[in-house]
């Protein structure tokens, strides 16, 4: 298990973003905090502090090993809390609650879902109203800013945001996943 932390790519990156990983492991992190913090409510509240620290990164593509990064953020939040409350404990990775966070679970299901939805994507895009679809493509495919999209299409920034919101909702509706 020591190999897990050395960042040489021994683990396969599964392509999920930091937020996706965090949300997939949310309850697990909560349980982990709960095992080190006596008051249930404090543990639950503490998970909320992981969020801003994850969001503070300008470009998460520069992070080679997202799982390890997520773990180190969770760990530093826990350590800071324990320090603040005068409880110094060693926080290490040999905790069964944390292991799944660090190691890719053999979840072929999720990768199949991704592959299936990618094949479905052209049909889903067809269902979007034309302007909405153009805005979605300019944003996600070509990474243009709201201002650029507004200028190209002669619409306001608020209209761009509305199209993005509607587009995301429609795409989400047509790409369901088993709970």
């Amino acid at each position: 298990m020591a190999a897990v932390m050395d960042g040489t790519g021994l683990m396969e990156e599964d392509g999920r973003t930091l937020m996706e990983l965090f949300l997939d492991h949310y309850e697990r992190i909560e349980a982990y905090f709960g095992s080190r913090i006596p008051r249930r409510q404090d543990a639950t509240d503490l998970v909320q502090e992981v969020c801003p620290r994850l969001l503070g990164i300008p470009d998460e593509r520069t992070i080679e090993n997202r799982r390890a990064y997520l773990w180190s953020v969770a760990r530093s939040v826990l350590c800071d809390y324990l320090d603040r409350n005068g409880r110094h404990q060693s926080v290490d990775i040999d905790d069964p609650l944390i292991q799944p966070l660090l190691v890719e679970e053999m979840d072929c299901g999720r990768q199949l879902d991704d592959a299936w939805h990618m094949r479905l994507l052209p049909e889903v895009m067809e269902k979007l109203p034309p302007k909405c679809r153009t805005v979605m493509e300019l944003k996600w495919q070509h990474d243009r800013s709201y201002q650029e999209i507004a200028d190209f299409l002669g619409i306001s920034i608020n209209t761009v945001k509305k199209h993005l919101k509607d587009g995301l909702k429609l795409c989400r509706q047509h790409m369901p996943r088993p709970e």
Binding site: G15, R16, T17, M19, E20, L23, D24, Y26, E27, T44, D45, V47, Q48, E49, C51, P52, L55, D114, H117, M118, L121, M125, P130, K131, T134, M136, E137, L138, W140, Q141, H142, D143, R144, Y146, E148, D151, F152, L153, G154, K161, L164, K165, L168, K169, C171, R172, Q173, M175, R177, E179
Partner: protein, 347 residues
């Protein structure tokens, strides 16, 4: 009944998740982030929906998810707009109309070109070795146009401007025939980007720059990166060229390259992109001339001496009322507004 409620709740959560997703992409301050974290903590459904939004966006960003360059997407969208609104040739706009009228007028005036261009783009997706694509873009008085080019570069046209874009396999060339344009160029050493404007030639080295064709002179201002500037008569291999870097400007008169570029405030130089004119201790004559490039009703300085009056400030290009207010506030100045002109004279 419970199912209806469940569905309503699902769609409300989805709406919230989409909003939070976009808010997060836009950037949040500490307080907003706390609210976001609280929203996530509030229920597993919230977390589920947000995670799915992340996932959808991630899948949409994959290269295999879409076809079509920015230029194609925009051309198609504009052509679709035009089909719905105005048939070709029935342009009924006046430049002094509201912003909305301007947008339709712009769509109409470039619509033919957009449809023509989009048809050509679809047809020449894989140009042969000798294939040259040439497109012309024009704005009338008071109009602006943002145009993505086939290679990902972006062209922005100011009022009363005409450019001709000529892309071939080995070169990207733009002729600025009239007016002012801003160029944001995707650098490609194998396919140099050249702008010809009056007696000047600008070669992109990797950058964002502004070219302003005035009467008798060409003004080149570099916002980011570097360009090489020289007389157009010489061609790319000419030696009489100077490099101009970010925050610098060069003025060529009759192809004469000055010894060195001069420093310039790029925020002020690029103010026109925000539809503004800014001036610092500049003569009223020059300010009025610049304002008149956009105006349908010109400001005419009748007393010659007033041309040298120095002013400092900033104006929106379509804001005649504010300009008149500034002029009226000056001592000894009278402003008379007629149906066709704004006449400024000494009292």
């Amino acid at each position: 009944m419970p199912n209806v409620l469940k569905f309503k709740r699902e769609s409300a959560i989805r709406e919230e998740a989409a909003e939070w997703f976009l808010a997060r992409r836009e950037g949040m301050d500490a307080e907003r982030m706390r609210q976001f974290a609280r929203w996530l903590a509030a229920s597993p459904e919230h977390r589920q929906e947000f995670r799915e939004m992340e996932r959808v966006a991630r899948l949409l960003s994959r290269p295999e998810a879409g076809e079509g360059s920015v230029a194609e997407l925009v051309a198609q969208a504009r052509a679709a707009d035009e089909e719905k609104v105005l048939p070709f040739g029935t342009v009924g706009s006046n430049g002094a109309g509201a912003a909305r009228n301007r947008r339709w007028a712009m769509a109409a005036s470039v619509a033919f070109l957009a449809v023509f261009a989009s048809v050509l783009w679809w047809k020449v997706r894989h140009p042969g070795a000798s294939e040259v694509q040439e497109f012309s873009y024009r704005t009338t008085r008071g109009q602006f146009l943002t145009q993505p080019l086939a290679d990902g570069s972006v062209l922005q046209l100011d009022t009363d401007t005409q450019v001709v874009v000529r892309y071939s396999k080995g070169e990207r060339q733009v002729r600025l025939e009239q007016g002012r344009a801003m160029f944001q160029v995707v650098h490609n050493a194998a396919r140099p980007f050249r702008v010809l404007a009056g007696s000047a030639q600008v070669i992109d080295i990797g950058t964002k720059f502004d070219v302003y064709l005035q009467r008798g002179a060409t003004l080149v201002t570099v916002i980011e990166g570097r360009v090489s500037v020289g007389p157009s008569a010489q061609g790319v291999a000419g030696t009489d060229r100077i490099e101009v870097g970010a925050g610098q400007r060069m003025q060529l008169v009759d192809g004469q390259v000055p010894a060195a570029p001069v420093p310039v405030d790029t925020a002020r130089a690029a103010a026109w992109l925000d539809r503004k004119i800014t001036f610092e201790h500049e003569p009223l004559g020059a300010i009025a001339a610049e304002f008149n490039r956009y105006a349908s009703k010109p400001v005419v300085i009748e007393t010659p001496g007033l041309n040298d009056l120095k002013l400092t400030g900033s104006l929106r290009v379509d804001d005649l009322d504010s300009f008149v207010a500034i002029l009226r506030s000056l001592e000894g100045v009278r402003v008379e507004i007629t149906p066709t002109q704004v006449r400024v004279s000494r009292t």
